[in-house]
Amino acid sequence: MSKFKKKKGGDLPAISTASLPDIVFMLLFFFMVATVMRQNTLKIENNLPFADQVEKLDKKDLVMYIYAGKPSANYKQYGSQARIQLNDDFASVSEIASFIAAERASKREELVPFLTTALKVDGETNMGIVGDIKQELRKVNALKINYTTKKGSVLNQ
């Protein structure tokens, strides 16, 4: 036998938090849709230069990424010279050919001619290493390239 007393007083009723999950879910879905999982862990500094005449790379699965730049702070033991990174590790110029061959083999045959190589190169890198990469790409006949840049004016960077 119990009796509950109804509380009656001047207290303000608590604000309902029932709609909080809805708000959070909304944000959650936004980030889920906008997220692109990083394919490669970068071991180099990758501060891309600016350009304003850019075109979009639309088919993401048909892009091969080649990174280059100075080793980042955690990998100082590799020196301060600019290095090439393929997939998850440092590589030398001669490994580019086999990298391209492996990427081509992993795609359907009819899509191979549409493959583009995206060069993500740090702005402070010398052109020497970029020239070497380009020469290597010419040798394996991967001629479509894209210099990936950030969008912005080139004059006041």
Partner: protein, 194 residues
Amino acid sequence: MAKRAAPEVNAGSMADIAFLLLIFFLVTTTIEVDSGLNRKLPPIEETEPPVIKQKNIFTVLLNGNDQLLVEDEIMEIKDLRQAAIDFLDNGGDGSCSYCKGKRNPDSSDNPTKAIISLKNERETSYKQYISVQNELVAAYNVLRNKRAEALYGMSFTEMEANANDVNWPGNKAKLKDQIDQIKEEYPQKLSEVQ
């Protein structure tokens, strides 16, 4: 008869779960930059390069200290775009009916013959190289935009965007022909010296 309310499920922890997921996606999100300058590398060929008149070549030299030498004169990067436009749009021999240039006989004959030659050294910084590439591509884009405005009342970039847009209602085949025509009138002839 007393009306019995269905027991309510406690949704208080739902927010916590959602927050957990939200924070996970916040941390893993990198809004990727996947745009840049598209270029095509020349295939390795054994054939002899054709002989080209010196006045049809616009030489851009980029040295190890990121200094710019254009047609044997030192130039700032901000002036490069205009210089390239003047060169391409010159129309020296009068065979180009749509050129708006000065028709200087010592500069290029026709946009279809004009070639920009870019040479850089190993010590050149990548940033500077991209800036120069960007300005040269911009010069072509400016000319193509002007030509497209005059012919079709629409800028060239707009036309290309429409051609790639699946929802664009107009006639795609016709648009492609128009784009090809402008590309033919101002072909991108940008060669790099190794």
